[in-house]
Symmetry: C2
Subunit: 280 residues, 2 copies
């Protein structure tokens, strides 16, 4: 079954949640609200919020308790793309077949729209009940999105272009830039389910594994990243190892973990048979 069909219910809840959380474009200040919606809609895979839901369910929780956490993660992901695309960073003009946010709204509005999405992500966490859970999610999300997490990976990625690329440095970038937020999604699902420490730790290791695998597969698809230092065959082995370990972590959760299992299979199917490294 296709991803969109398998996760139809999750995706509907996520789109509904995001639609309600984001201010209407008709509300003052209209321009930035329009830019924020442009950055969030239409939906991509929504991989991170789907993972929050799947992890929450696997850990024995109710998916409706995970909505704010799921939407917050997607908002953080979207803000990071808007800022990453800016001329000061990647200077990308197109994303998913459309002009990037700053090409559509100008650099100033795009910069502030990114700030607005980041701020809104934390704002919606205040709705999580009880307050003790809201604070746990706040701590996890802010740490994973911060300079020891995603932002740290972005900075390292910038710096490395000037210096020399090594495997430990590339591991650092991939683990932080992409991996930390995916690990956070899995852990936040467990936290919102009120999982035991054992299940929470399993979910963290699961998220860590598929987070790095996720980025490694992107590298295989883009002919970039790891392919600058490793053979395609080696990267594929690395990905399959990461996935096998991740699946081992969730096996004791039984049937409740089948959506997590589906996510790993979805990722494995993305691995291309042949890979060609880009020549820079």
């Amino acid at each position: 079954m296709k991803y969109e069909n398998h996760f139809k219910d999750y995706l509907r809840e996520i789109e509904k949640g995001l639609t309600e959380i984001l201010p209407l474009s008709s509300q003052q200040p209209c321009l930035i609200h329009e830019a924020m919606r442009y950055a969030v809609f239409p939906a991509g895979k929504r991989f991170r919020p789907v993972l929050v839901f799947a992890a929450c369910h696997a850990a024995g929780g109710k998916v409706e308790d995970a909505l704010e956490g799921a939407c917050a993660l997607e908002l953080i992901h979207c803000y990071s793309l808007v800022h990453d695309d800016l001329p000061a960073l990647d200077n990308d003009e197109m994303r998913r077949g459309r002009p990037t946010c700053h090409k559509q709204f100008g650099e100033a509005v795009a910069l502030l729209a990114g700030d607005g999405l980041l701020t809104l992500a934390f704002q919606i966490l205040a709705k999580i009940k009880p307050a003790s859970k809201a604070v746990q999610v706040l701590e996890e999300l802010s740490t994973s999105a911060g300079t020891y997490g995603m932002i740290g990976g972005q900075v390292a990625d910038l710096t490395i272009q000037k210096g020399e690329l090594t495997l430990p440095m590339l591991d650092y970038i991939n683990i932080h830039k992409t991996g930390k937020l995916i690990k956070a999604a899995a852990r936040i699902g467990a936290l919102l389910a009120g999982a035991s420490r054992d299940v929470e730790r399993r979910m963290m290791r699961f998220g860590e594994g598929i987070g790095l695998a996720f980025q490694s597969i992107d590298d295989l698809l883009d002919g970039d990243g790891y392919l600058k230092l490793m053979k395609g065959r080696e990267v594929r082995i690395k990905v399959r190892d990461l996935m096998a370990n991740a699946i081992r972590e969730i096996r004791p959760l039984g049937k409740r973990a089948e959506n997590l299992q589906f996510l790993t299979e979805f990722l494995l199917k993305r691995i291309p048979r042949e890979t060609h490294a880009k020549v820079d």
Copy 2:
């Protein structure tokens, strides 16, 4: 007595707090941590965190309970300056007699350092005990810093340069761009003191009044903003009215409000005797 002497104890606690919260420049990723510290140190007036402390004390609380809230406000203020100075927005090269963050570290690192400061501001709120208070502060700070608060004012400020300046629009900008965060400082002080709803509301009206007065005085000093539409004499009357109303709000709090009183006097002393509007 001078501001720095009067608030010596507050300022020492704030510098100590910020020093401990911000990652060391020697910690990976070093460059962004260095840029974040550059944006926060050396201290300016620290008006917002001082106001948090003074409001907390006036509302019957202990200043040490307000440290995280105070530092979070200062981090939000500093991030907003870093992003505001970027070429996409104000394109300023100097701030407080030094190169701006992007002049010193490059645009990419400055952009991410701003993101890092914003994320860190929310991260430290997770330390507030009990969790119910942390969530109250999270809600207030994220709302005041968001698109219905400070960011909304920044966007309006950008948009207005292309359109026509009216007094309601300028009120909107000043109330949001500067006022909302100062109002939040006063309210957060009250929340962290565990104040009654009556005292909390007084503190909000107090903060709202001095927030707008603060920006109006800046306009008088810069020959900008309100001076484009009003006479200097009219702006001074506006400021004194705002201040008189603000002081009326805190009068019932008695001697505990003397630091808030000092803050209003400090602002009043900044009003220049003569003002000349800039010709654009």
